[in-house]
Symmetry: C2
Subunit: 223 residues, 2 copies
């Protein structure tokens, strides 16, 4: 294992048509049988902690690697590396999102050989990342219980774009005003097809269900 996290400074895309470039990237991934999952959320929703628990739940089923995208710092990639998860850190140069070409730069440095599932942990932000197709096969958003059940009302595009909503930190449900019926209603108003799973990286609740969902997506993609 490497001693230091590899940090990639990605450059702003030169492609004018990001949607077309994202489709091109998906085709490349399809050919190489690599599944890319775009993980989005607010800052502090628990993306990295969830990935640590997910890695344990996926053990022996699917090989997972992680590309951590951040404005600055490498704290997340370091945590994953310490847990033995193959990971690199992407710095966006102050930018609030990744487009398909920035994602490709990261994938190229990560290396697609021997990769099966790569999770892109996008910049913590509910607005900008939803506006740019990264080329991922599926999009997932985390909403942590402390953030409140009204987020789908305020950040519509994020919920429209996501295939999976994982409601995280369910272990603290009793300390917060968070209504499961409301969040499901609001999320489905934005996206009737969204799949919803409740998880806690702390207690392990829902982690098997999440792992099953991901394994199925990866298998379907490689088929």
């Amino acid at each position: 294992m490497e001693k230091n996290v590899r940090i990639i400074e990605v450059k702003r895309s030169i492609f004018e048509n990001n949607d077309r470039d994202a489709d091109r990237l998906r085709a490349e991934l399809k050919e190489k049988k690599v599944f890319l999952l775009n993980l989005m959320s607010s800052p502090g929703s628990g993306k990295t902690t969830m990935l640590l628990a997910l890695s344990r739940a996926l053990k022996g089923r699917v090989r997972m690697g992680v590309m951590e995208a951040d404005i600055d710092s490498a704290v997340d990639a370091e945590k994953l590396m310490e847990a033995g998860i193959r990971s690199i850190q992407i710095h966006t140069g102050g930018m609030c999102h990744l487009d398909a070409d920035m994602t490709r730069q990261g994938l190229y440095e990560f290396g697609l050989e021997d990769a099966e599932l790569i999770v892109l942990e996008n910049v913590g932000n509910l607005v900008c990342p939803a506006e740019f197709d990264t080329g991922a096969v599926k999009n997932m958003t985390l909403l942590s219980v402390p953030e409140g059940d009204d987020k789908p009302l305020k950040y519509p595009l994020m919920y429209e774009k996501c295939d999976l909503l994982a409601v995280s930190k369910t272990d603290v449900l009793s300390y917060f005003d968070f209504d499961k019926d409301k969040v499901e209603k609001y999320a489905r108003q934005r996206n009737p097809d969204i799949h919803i799973i409740y998880i806690s990286a702390k207690t392990g609740e829902g982690m098997e269900e999440l792992a099953d969902w991901i394994v199925k997506q990866v298998k379907d993609w490689k088929a």
Copy 2:
């Protein structure tokens, strides 16, 4: 009191130099003796709940009004209006931030007559709002305990730009791994002059201290 929340759809600024426009807006506010506070945070840090508690703590000291900025929905402005707080809802047309001219459009609709303190509740986002000077006299950020103590490492500009950091939801401190010493160290790495207050809108902890800080800023500005 109005029955329905007034919703303002602001337009993208026509000014090329936002910094100069922001200085111009501050000069206008100085002349009218109106204090504008720019409030930023992640989605779900508790900005609106904090404002409800702050309004009670400021009663009889300073008149507070609120401009709520969101991508969509008017749920926050409605909550404030129900509590008798003068407020309007600004919709950004999908944009992740407000610049000085967008803020001016909101202020113009809000009305500066009889206003003393206006809080701009910016879009929930730790990246983009920090990049645009809104013309506010002071900048404040909320960081809620569940988000974790590492946020100043990951979102440097937000902490560089803020005069005040209020760590919110301290009532749940014992349920989360959150180290006060760490957050203070990281925040001061970004901004040695940042003022830090711990608050809980639920228990009332720190709300008087926060009100005192704001009253002092408003008085200094009007002097």
